[in-house]
Amino acid sequence: MILKKYFITYFVFPQFISPHRHLHPRATHARRRRTRRARERRRRSPGMDIISQLQEQVNAVASIAFNTFGTLQRDAPPVQLSPNYPDPPANPNGVEDAATLAEQPKLLSAELVKAAKQFDALVAALPLTEGGEEAQLKRIAELQTENDAIGQELQKQLEAAEKELRQVQELFGQAVDNCLNLKKPD
């Protein structure tokens, strides 16, 4: 007897794999169910830049989505295909009760929506300046000229300071020599 759920899970999930190379390698194992503890272990490092966080969030949405669909399909009770066939046998183990079965879609979809909202929040936090590439390049050129000017001034000051240091050291040497009467005064 072909049960709908087996037909679907065999054909859908091995292919719900985006071959895009930017997805996290763990995302390619579509049937892996991640427990909550494993999810917390793989925490994003706090100092990551905003674009990497956005990329991680996209991957998180993807993994939540296929985990959601996979879990729901795996745990779905069989469906009666036609009135000619008898009713499917009742599930012997009462573990997957009607209560848990009704809870699961709500929890999983809430998780999905939360991840999507977080993506939106991250997008809002993008520090994008208006003006695009040309404005940035112009600003870089300005900063470079200012940097060069300041660099030259710094160099000038440094040379003057070193010259004064040498003068003071020479005078000090002369004064000390005079004090100690090591050299006959000219």
Partner: protein, 168 residues
């Protein structure tokens, strides 16, 4: 037990015979490569540019153009993604054999999302460069101020010392 000898060194070591006396008599190192090159059978390019979506055979869902409003496009792609996920759920309930098209659409959206994020990277690089330049300018200004201050103080001390010496 046969032992193999080490392979001989490459024969152009002889060209470097006079290197310690005259460094210019030996050949110069080869210049850096430009353009595409082949390494271990695979061809690479020295031009580091993010390849466009069309070149990878993926349909581009967000509008082309020089100035793209990234936030708007990212948000609209996110909405589309959610819609497609809902559609997939509906299809699986009613007409489960037609999942393939929906799954393809979802993966297309993900590819577009990632490509958009990757095209933000050059912008980020330029912004980082601007930030570093600003920090450097600030540090240099600070250093100039410090040197000026110390020089003035040193001159003051020298004048003072001269004054005390003359007063003697």
């Amino acid at each position: 037990m046969a032992t193999a000898t080490y392979p001989p060194p490459p024969p152009y070591y002889k060209l470097y015979k006079e290197y310690s006396q005259d460094p210019d008599s030996a050949p110069a190192p080869p210049p850096p490569i430009e353009g595409p090159y082949v390494l271990y059978g695979a061809s690479y390019t020295t031009d580091d540019v993010l390849p466009g979506l069309e070149e990878q055979g993926v349909r581009q869902l967000y509008p082309k153009g020089t100035n793209i409003d990234f936030r708007k496009e990212l948000r609209s792609l996110n909405r589309e993604l959610q819609l497609h996920l809902l559609e997939l759920a509906d299809v699986l309930i009613e007409r489960p054999s037609q999942y393939a098209r929906r799954v393809e659409d979802i993966s297309l959206i993900f590819k577009n999302l990632h490509h958009l994020l990757n095209s933000l990277r050059p912008h980020q690089a330029r912004a980082t460069l601007i930030h570093i330049l600003e920090l450097q300018i600030q540090r240099r200004k600070q250093a100039v101020e410090d040197i000026k201050r110390r020089r003035e103080e040193a001159q003051r001390l020298v004048k003072e010392a001269l004054g005390t010496l003359n007063g003697q």
